[in-house]
């Protein structure tokens, strides 16, 4: 049982501000993912939760108890690191026993607990091995095991899958999700991989330059990004962006007007449209036509990614399950107005 609340957290190293007045509320039993590019402050956020870093100002509450200046070992958190951080001179068993030994548990209990966790993670036959004799996937399982034996209130995971190859990564990702479902504990997971974030997170918090950009369910942040940064950071291939200047008192693409509330006050808007929301056939009168030339076609297994350029030379990407056209064809595609996301000059999203 543990919720996490970060109140007005600011963290500075010397004169560099890494976190700027960060506010975050993570619910009990939630799988919360902190997503951001490298240098955005997501690991610092995690370290302040763990107690490895102290914020310059602000408070951290666990279950409304202020733990800002608590030592890491008093916080009841377990942490998993990107480089596994197994103790190289101890075998797997001793690695997993370490946190329990520090808490002076009896050997019987330690033994029972390790066997239990080793069974869940399928690492029973590895218990006598040294970390250097493990593959990346095995090492990360052991690191996970070392966190699990402790029965912590909160799990903190710092890019735990980044060093693994694709197949093992998706496998452990699945296991992680199942473990979370079984344990019903609070997980805070840091990653720069947006797909991982959307797959794992009950909610995702997107961080940039030490500022939380948006917090929401994966669907929310993907479909209703609060600003251009979030829109661009999520989704693969990247969202298509069209910048429009005011023309004849309105905004138009291909002769079709784009409107919304208070648009007359704006001089410039930006339209974001996800690759899967560019249609090859018109759906409604408000859909905006684009004359495009097909440049390339990529088969993805379930469909195609079409790379095309508009007559202004802008490169766009379309996801489609049909591809009855060839490279070099000139066709008309339509921006699905219903799914188009509009941004003002500052890059904040605006209502249609």
């Amino acid at each position: 049982m543990s919720s996490v609340e970060m109140k007005n957290i600011t963290k500075m190293y010397d004169k560099v501000t890494v976190l700027k007045d960060l506010n975050l509320k993570i619910d009990d039993q939630e799988f919360f993912v902190l997503l951001g590019p490298s240098g955005s402050g997501k690991s610092t956020t995690l370290n302040t939760m763990a107690g490895l870093d102290t914020p310059t100002s602000g408070n951290i509450l666990f279950d409304s108890e202020d733990v800002t200046y608590f030592d890491p070992n008093k916080r009841g958190v377990a942490m998993v690191f990107q480089d596994y951080a197994l103790y190289p001179h101890m075998n797997v068993y001793k690695n997993m026993a370490f946190p329990l030994k520090m808490k002076r548990y009896k050997n019987d209990y330690i033994n029972k607990k390790i066997n239990e966790v080793a069974n869940i993670l399928g690492i029973k036959e590895l218990l006598k091995r040294l970390p250097r004799e493990l593959s990346g996937g095995q090492a990360q399982r052991v690191a996970l095991g070392r966190a699990l034996v402790r029965d912590p209130k909160i799990f903190l995971l710092d890019e735990p899958l980044s060093n693994l190859d694709a197949k093992i990564r998706s496998q452990i990702r699945n296991e992680l999700k199942l473990i979370h479902n079984d344990l019903k504990k609070t997980f805070v997971y840091v990653t720069h991989d947006q797909q991982e974030a959307m797959y794992l997170g009950d909610r995702v918090g997107i961080l940039n330059d030490g500022v939380i950009q948006q917090v929401g369910t994966p669907q929310e942040v993907y479909s209703h990004p609060k600003n251009l940064f979030v829109a661009k950071f999520l989704g693969e291939p990247e969202i298509n962006i069209f910048e429009l200047d005011k023309n004849d008192g309105g905004f138009k693409i291909g002769g079709v007007p784009v409107d919304g509330h208070n648009f007359d006050k704006l001089n410039k808007i930006t339209i974001g449209i996800r690759p899967e929301n560019i249609l090859l056939e018109k759906k409604s009168e408000r859909d905006m036509p684009l004359k495009i030339v097909i440049r390339a076609k990529e088969f993805t297994g379930s469909g195609f990614i079409i790379i095309a350029s508009t007559d202004e030379g802008k490169e766009i990407r379309i996801i489609s399950d049909q591809a009855n056209m060839d490279v070099g064809d000139l066709i008309t595609a339509y921006i699905d107005y219903e799914h188009a996301i509009l941004f003002d000059e500052q890059g904040d999203s605006i209502n249609k």
Binding site: L52, P72, N73, V77, F81, Q82, A85, Y87, P88, F98
Partner: protein, 271 residues
């Protein structure tokens, strides 16, 4: 082909001569230590005998000097290793004001001619009653090696990944436990090397015990060997025997710590 072969021969000839230059004193030492007293100089003795060793090893003065040498060298070695761990950890992991200045100060001390401090130390030791005591020698020898020990151990600690330290802290180890369970075990290879280096330096140190001790029953073997060059004649065979005994602890330590030495000198700690 011939050119290459010629070069090969010349190189090996030079190397062999060099090796001989280094080996001859050792061979002479070994031969001399098994010779009777009348055999002086670099000649093949008429008979081989164990008498020099027997004489040295039954002489309680010499035995005592070996014992004193061991106590003083080992004592000073452990003193400096134990006192190096803390500063090395702090220098490696904590940030504080004037850290770089202090660290450079330590580095400067590693090359400082500490023997120049022997005279003030001598007077200080007389005033404080440390003069002519084993503890006094251990303290001075220990401090002598402390800067280089701190420096080397700090570099060894630097190689331990930060995430491992962080993991141990989150796992519930405080600074001290993290030091005992993580840092020191991971630095064992370096520590083994340091123990050998310190021991060999202390064991071979002549000046410090020579100046800080006066009672002959406290003199370590390094000083005792010197006493062979007495007023009347030099017993070269016994001198040689004691010299060989003198080299044994260092050689034994090297053999025991070989595994760690190789590890320490060929890559250190791997995560």
């Amino acid at each position: 082909m011939i050119k290459i072969k010629l070069r090969f021969i010349v190189v090996y000839l030079i190397l062999t001569l060099l090796a001989l230059a280094f080996l001859i004193p050792f061979i002479w030492l070994v031969v001399e230590s098994f010779s009777p007293l009348n055999n002086i100089g670099f000649t093949i003795p008429s008979t081989f005998t164990l008498a020099p060793f027997e004489h040295v090893l039954t002489n309680s003065t010499f035995i005592r000097s070996i014992y004193m040498g061991l106590i003083q060298s080992l004592g000073a070695t452990f003193l400096s290793i134990i006192f190096a761990v803390g500063p090395a950890y702090v220098f490696s992991r904590k940030s504080f004001k004037f850290k770089t200045t202090l660290l450079l100060g330590v580095l400067l001390l590693t090359g400082f001619p500490v023997f120049s401090l022997l005279v003030p130390t001598f007077i200080f030791f007389i005033d404080t009653g440390l003069y002519n005591t084993v503890i006094g020698v251990i303290l001075f020898l220990g401090v002598l090696n402390l800067p280089i020990d701190i420096w080397i151990m700090k570099n060894s600690f630097d190689q331990i990944p930060k995430s491992i330290e962080r993991a141990s802290i989150v796992d519930g180890a405080g600074t001290l436990k993290s030091l005992i369970y993580i840092f020191i075990p991971l630095s064992l290879p370096i520590m083994a090397v340091l123990i050998i280096l310190n021991f060999v330096i202390n064991w071979g140190n002549f000046y410090v015990p020579f100046i800080l001790l006066s009672s002959s029953h406290l003199l370590p073997i390094s000083v005792r060997i010197y006493s062979f060059f007495g007023a009347f004649s030099v017993r070269y065979n016994e001198l040689a025997a004691l010299s060989i005994i003198y080299t044994i602890p260092a050689v034994v330590l090297y053999i025991f710590a070989q595994k760690y030495m190789i590890k320490a000198l060929s890559g250190g700690i791997k995560g």
